[in-house]
Symmetry: C2
Subunit: 420 residues, 2 copies
C-alpha cells in the first residue's frame, strides 16, 4: 500500500476520535486569558503522540522589549504557549505547523442557535466558538501528525507543532515562539481559508484619530465647530487614501478582490449631549498593509495623510487632529508564487481533492507575518474553516473539510520533510 | 423723591448684600438632584422679605401624568420647588418672576480658572457655575422685590416669585408650579439674554436615530454595510431639512440670526471594534422648534423626514432606521410684539439704561413655554447674564448688569402691577 493510501486509511479510522478531540477543545472556552484548559487538552494529545513538549509561559523581557510586541497584556500566567516537536532522522527540511488556541468572545448569545461552547454536531458540522477559527485547523494538524506516525512513516525533517496564545490580539504567542528560537524551512497555518491557499497575507494596524472642534449651544450651533462634521471630512479623506492605495496594488493574486487592502473605519465616538455642538470626535480604524509593504511604510503613509489635512484645512491649522497607533498590529507576509512549499502543497491538494486549488491573497493577517518577517520561515496559509464564519455567531466547521485538510497537510509534510 | 430715584437709591445701598447673596447661592452646587441647599438660601431671603412661602416637593400624579412631563427623574425628595408671593392690594395686574435654581454640571475642572463653586469676585464679575445661568438673574428678581418693599411702594397686583428646579432637564419644576395653580397677567424670566429682550422663544426636543448596517471583517469591508457611512447620509439629510425649515422662518425678529431654528447633531456613536465594519450607529440631536410652530407639528416633520429616507433608500427599505424622541422637550413661546408687557419692559429699560433695548428671538427655550402654553401667562425673557457664558467654563456675571436688571425689573413690576 503506498503512503497516500496508508495515510487515507489511518485518517478514516481516526475520524471519530478527531471529532471528539475538536468537541473537547471547543468545550474549553479559550478566550483571551483563559487559554489554559484548552491548551491542556492539546498538550495531552501531543504527549500521546510522543512529541517532545516545550510548554512555557511567555512574557519575558526579550518579548516585552521586542519592537514588534504590541500587546496590552502583561500577565500571561496560567496560559502557556506550546511547541511540540517530532524530530526527524536528519537531512530533510523542517516544517512548522502553527495553530492558535485563543478564540474571540462569543458575542451576543441570543444570536447563537446552540451554546457556543457545546460542540454540538449537526449535518456533518461541529458548531461552536473556535471551530473554524481555528481549533478545527489545529485538529487537522494533530490528525496529520498522528496519521504519519500511525502509518509508520519516518521523516528526515523535523515537525514543529505550535499551539500558541494571543493570535487574536496581535500574535505575541507566535512572536514568543520565534524569539525562543523556533524556525523552519517552511510553515503551514491552517487558518480558515475555506480550503484555498493563501501565500500572501495582508498586514494591518489600528489607528485612532482625535479631532477637536469647538463647543456651543445647539440653539446657536453656528457659533461652534462640530467635531462630527470635521470627522466626516477626515473619513472622506481616508476613503480617498484607500482608493489611491488600492489602485496601486498590482499583484495578480488580488485580481478578483474588490478592495485588496481596505482601510476600515470601525468606530466613531463624538459628543456627549444632544443639544451641544460636540467638541471632540474619535475615529478608530484598521489600516490594511500590502503584503509587499513594510509596516514602517504604511505608518509613514498614514502620518503623511494626517499631516496633509492638518496643513491644508483652515480649522485643523489652528487645532490639528492627532494620530495615534494603538492596540495590535499584524505584519504582512509574502511567499513567492514559485516557492517550493506552495508547489508541494498545491500538488498534494490536487492529488487528494481532485481539482486545482484556488490560490488567493488573504484579506487579513495571520501569525505568519511573525514567522516569515521575524523568524525567516516561509509561510503558507491553508485551512478547512469557512472564512466568513470566523468571529460570527453559529460558527461551525465541516467535518469532511477538516479531514481533507488533515490528509492534504499530512501528504505535504511527508513530501516536504522527506521519508528516510 | 420719585419712585425711580427711590428704587435706584435703595438698590445702590443693597449692592453689596446682593453680591453676598449671589456668592452664597453659587457656593451651593445645585446640580440636578442637589438643589436643596441653594433653595434653602432663597427661602430664607423670601422669609426676610415677608413673602408668603409655598415650598413643596414636586412629583405628584397630576404632574407625572401630564402630557408635557418629559422628565426621566421620579424622585424629587429633598429638592423642593418654591413659590413666594407678595400679595397686592387688589385691582392690579399680577406678575410671575421666574428663576431656576438648578445648574448644569461644571464640566472639566481643568478648564476653570477658579473653583466653579467659589463665587470669586474679579474685575466687577462674580465667577462660578450658575452665575449667569441663572442665579444672577434670580438675585436681580429678589433685589427688585426688596427694593420695592424697602422703598415703601405698595402694589395693587400680586408679585409671584418662583424659584424652580429641573429647568435644565426639561422644566418639570415650572410645569409643577403651573399645575399647582400659579398663573398671572405676565411673567419675566431673567435667563441670560445679555440685557436683550426676548419675546419669542425657540422650542426644542431631543431625538435619537438608530441606523442598522451589516457587520463584516475590516479586511473584507466590502462585504458589510458601514453604519457610520449610513449615519453620514442621514446627517446630510438632516442638514437639508434644517436648511428648508430655516428658509421658511419669516418673523422679523430672526432677521439678524444666521440660523433661526437649528437642528443640532450632538452625539454620534458607532462601532465597537477598529477592524470590524460597524453594524449600528446612533445619532442624537436637538431639533429646534419655531416659536409659532407646535411641538406636534415639529414631531410630524421629523417623522416624515425619517420615513422618506426609509422609503427612498435601497438599504433602509430592508433595514429601516428608527426614530425615537427621548429626554427633555421644551415648548416654544411667543409674545406678540405689541403686547403691553413688552411695551412696559422696553420703556423702563430705555428710561434706566438710556438707550433702546435690543429685541430679539431667543436661540433656546426657557420655562416660559410652560408658563405661556400651559399656564396662559404671557412671558418675556430678559436677564443680566451673558448668553455665551451659560454652560461654559469660567462662567461669570457682571455685577453692574445684575444691578441694572434689578432696577429695570423693579420699575417694570411697579408699572405693571400698579401702585395703590
Amino acid at each position: 500500500m503506498d503512503q497516500e493510501k496508508r495515510i487515507h486509511s489511518v485518517l478514516s479510522n481516526k475520524r471519530s476520535k478527531g471529532i471528539e478531540l475538536l468537541q473537547k477543545l471547543v468545550q474549553q472556552p479559550s478566550r483571551r486569558g483563559s487559554e489554559g484548559e484548552a491548551q491542556a487538552v492539546i498538550v495531552e494529545k501531543c504527549r500521546q503522540l510522543g512529541l517532545e513538549i516545550d510548554l512555557w509561559e511567555i512574557g519575558d523581557e526579550d518579548l516585552r522589549n521586542h519592537p514588534n510586541f504590541y500587546s496590552d497584556r502583561t500577565n500571561f500566567s496560567g496560559t502557556p504557549n506550546l511547541v511540540a516537536v517530532k524530530k526527524g532522522t536528519g537531512g530533510g527540511k523542517s516544517i512548522i505547523l502553527n495553530g492558535h488556541v485563543d478564540v474571540v468572545p462569543e458575542g451576543n448569545l441570543d444570536d447563537w442557535e446552540f451554546d457556543p461552547y457545546s460542540g454540538v454536531i449537526r449535518d456533518g458540522r461541529v458548531y461552536g466558538r473556535g471551530t473554524t477559527d481555528m481549533k478545527g485547523g489545529t485538529v487537522s494538524l494533530l490528525l496529520a501528525i498522528e496519521a504519519i506516525i500511525a502509518a509508520g512513516i519516518s521523516l528526515k525533517g523535523d515537525i514543529i507543532f505550535q499551539s500558541v496564545i494571543e493570535e487574536e490580539s496581535g500574535g505575541a504567542g507566535t512572536l514568543a515562539a520565534v524569539l525562543r528560537g523556533y524556525s523552519a524551512d517552511g510553515a503551514v497555518i491552517p487558518e480558515p481559508t475555506d480550503m484555498k491557499i493563501f501565500p500572501l497575507q495582508q498586514g494591518s494596524m489600528w489607528f485612532r484619530i482625535t479631532v477637536k472642534g469647538k463647543s456651543a449651544h445647539g440653539g446657536t450651533r453656528y457659533q461652534g465647530v462640530s467635531a462630527i462634521d470635521l470627522a466626516y471630512e477626515v473619513i472622506s479623506e481616508i476613503k480617498q487614501l484607500e482608493k489611491l492605495r488600492n489602485q496601486a496594488i498590482q499583484h495578480p493574486l488580488y485580481d478578483g478582490i474588490p478592495l485588496p487592502i481596505p482601510i476600515n473605519v470601525g468606530r466613531v465616538i463624538s459628543g456627549d449631549w444632544p443639544s451641544s455642538v460636540p467638541d471632540t470626535a474619535t475615529i478608530e480604524g484598521r489600516f490594511g498593509i500590502g503584503p509587499e509593504e513594510s509596516m514602517e511604510q504604511a505608518i509613514a503613509v498614514l502620518k503623511e495623510c494626517v499631516e496633509r489635512m492638518n496643513g491644508r484645512h483652515e480649522w485643523f491649522r489652528q487645532k490639528p487632529m492627532e494620530l495615534e497607533l494603538f492596540g495590535a498590529r499584524w505584519l504582512p507576509g509574502v511567499l513567492p508564487l514559485n516557492h517550493p512549499l506552495l508547489e508541494v502543497l498545491s500538488k498534494n491538494y490536487e492529488a487528494i481533492i481532485g481539482k486545482r486549488p484556488l490560490i488567493e491573497a488573504s484579506p487579513w493577517a495571520t501569525d505568519g507575518g511573525y514567522l516569515s518577517n521575524i523568524g525567516n520561515t516561509p509561510v503558507v496559509v491553508f485551512g478547512p474553516g469557512k472564512t466568513e464564519m470566523a468571529h460570527d455567531a453559529n460558527e461551525y466547521i465541516e467535518i469532511d473539510k477538516m479531514m481533507q485538510a488533515a490528509e492534504v497537510i499530512a501528504m505535504t509534510i511527508i513530501a516536504w520533510c522527506g521519508v528516510g
